[in-house]
Amino acid sequence: MWIFTLAWKNIWRNKSRTIIVLSAIAFASIISLPASSLKEGIFQNLISNIVGSYSGHIQIHQKGYWQEQTLENGFVSDANLTFKIRQIPEVEHIANRLESFALISSGEITKGAIVLGVDSIEKFQFTRVCDKLIRGIFMDSGQGLLLSEGLSNKMKKNVNDTVVLIGQGYRGSIAADRFIVSGIIRLPSPKLNSGLLVMPLTEAQHFFLADSIVTTTSLLLKKSSDLNQTAHKIRALMNKDHEVMTWEEIMPDIKQHIQTDSINMRIVQLILYMLVGFGIFSTIVIMMSERRAEHGMLLALGMSKLRLQLLLITESLYTVMLGSLLGLLLGAPLVFYLHKFPLRISGAAADAYAKFGFEPIFPTSTDFSIFLYQSLMVFIIGTMVSLYPLSVVHRMKAIFAMKK
């Protein structure tokens, strides 16, 4: 339609002014897009670090286990249920675990340790044990165990050495046995890295005299964003004897941290966009006063106010869309570059990250929603500033507008 052609021609009336407006919008996008994608990427990274390294996205326990984490609160794993959960499309991995405490000792040295029995190396893969196996191998069965790096140092034990475990077994029995160190692992969390040992699930069940008992069924999802809906599906499958917890419920402090930071980011973005919005608004005010007589003339000729408003709103939207397109074109390569080659942190911050076992990198997220959100923000601003021309035209009287 000719109105769209005319609108396009109109935005190039004052080339330098349009270019300034476009640059302002693009500038905001160039700052805001990588910033929000970086924020999102850091959080996603944080979540997958935490979730992937130990907790999983969702955990299933016997009711009451989270309150009192003892073997007595374990449950008999149900193959039928495991099968049903595996049918849920959002679920990537499912792993059964038995977690308890034992004393590890060798010669003079005795230390407390967290004992983790995992059902197989494949299923445990999401916990990145494989990635972090620094020496030796993991054995699916047999009396071999993996020592965390810190524990191995404290015990002064290496691959192929023998250690003794002593603990309280299921229902008050005494558990004691001899194991061979088959490998050394490095774990993300400092707490785990200095106190965890891992063995095959059946071995752990055997040691604790807890046949077919597990304490946790841990799930890894394909997408972190499917968390609540998947938890909901699983809850529907479970009876009242179980509790289904998401990582957000397991680690509410981290969830809180992410939420606050997200809100802060939104506020910064909002301020940035408001500045740009005011910039656009003032140029529109100037434009409208410069073209006032012409608009009066168009109304006098018999152009309806609605058509004139459509023309002006199209002009604003063209400008805003062009600016954000420019911003996307310039900002997106940066986002993708930083995704491929993430920023590396160094110094104290890097050490702090390493302490938690996280790679000291700041990757960006290339999630589509980030680009969508940017465009949406710009579109909303565009629509808001377009309201001004609409109201000017609405109140305009042709003969007054045409007066010099």
């Binding site: 009336r13 012409e294 003339m297 018999g302 003969i399 010099k404």
Partner: protein, 249 residues
């Protein structure tokens, strides 16, 4: 029904009273009230225009020419009286209907800010037809013919900034009459032009008046323009003081 010719306030009877009536303003008045002091801009004016007339509205500054033209053009409302354009009383139309009426029945030429700067001469000239949703080939045909008639064929694809003031006003006149309105209304169309350009514009208006039978009513201060017009209506203080028809041919 044929409207009867009316006696104007000055008592001069119109000659072409049997022609089809285009404008019939009856007893219109307009009072402005800036800051409580009423200014009677138009006082009980009767105006009758027939098809094909070529009328100049003259009078000193502040005599009410613009006010009268605005009311006839449906841009402003009289306080009292009626204005019949081709038998439609435009004082009774709603704002939305009035806009439509202007688009379809009245051609406008203003003193300045006439053309849309981003459009070419041709696009400007066909703008009203575009608003009227007239088909492209019909527009082209008409525009080609008109540009030829006023000797602007080589300027069709040029933007207003590359045209002289006179050429711009010629394009504005073409735009006003391209869609064949009831009449063309022009408030001081030559005010911004030098006298040669002013004469040129007047020639073209006269030519199209003759060839197309287009009715014109316009205001002017230029005595040499006035000398070439068949009918001259003079306003003083919002009243018609003379309405002369001179056969200049």
């Amino acid at each position: 029904m044929e409207k009867r010719a009316k006696q104007s306030d000055t008592g001069i009877e119109k000659l072409n009273s049997k022609d089809a009536t285009v404008i019939d303003a009856h007893n219109i008045s307009k009072t402005y009230n800036p800051g409580g002091i009423p200014i009677r801009a138009i006082k009980n004016i009767h105006l009758h225009l027939s098809k094909g007339e070529f009328v100049a509205l003259v009078g000193p500054s502040g005599s009410g020419k613009t006010t009268l033209l605005n009311m006839i053009g449906g841009l402003d409302q009289p306080d009292s009286g009626s204005i019949l354009i081709n038998n439609t009383d435009i004082t009774r139309l709603s704002q939305a209907k009035l806009v439509k009426f202007r688009l379809h029945h009245i051609g406008f030429v203003f003193q300045s800010y006439n053309l849309i700067p981003v459009l070419t001469a041709q696009e400007n000239a066909e703008f009203i037809m575009l608003l009227q949703k007239i088909k492209k080939f019909k527009r082209n045909e008409r525009i080609d013919m008109l540009f030829q008639a006023v000797g602007l064929s080589d300027k069709k694809n040029v933007r207003p900034s590359q045209l002289s003031g006179g050429q711009q006003q010629r394009v504005a006149v073409l735009r006003a009459l391209a869609s064949k309105p009831q009449f063309v209304l022009a408030d001081e169309p030559t005010a911004n032009l030098d006298s040669e350009a002013a004469f040129n514009l007047l020639d073209i208006m006269l030519k199209l008046n003759k060839e197309e039978g287009m009715t014109y009513i316009f205001s002017t201060h230029d005595q040499r323009v006035i000398d070439r017009v068949k009918r001259v209506i003079k306003l003083v203080d919002g009243e018609v003081v003379s309405d002369k028809i001179t056969d200049i041919l």
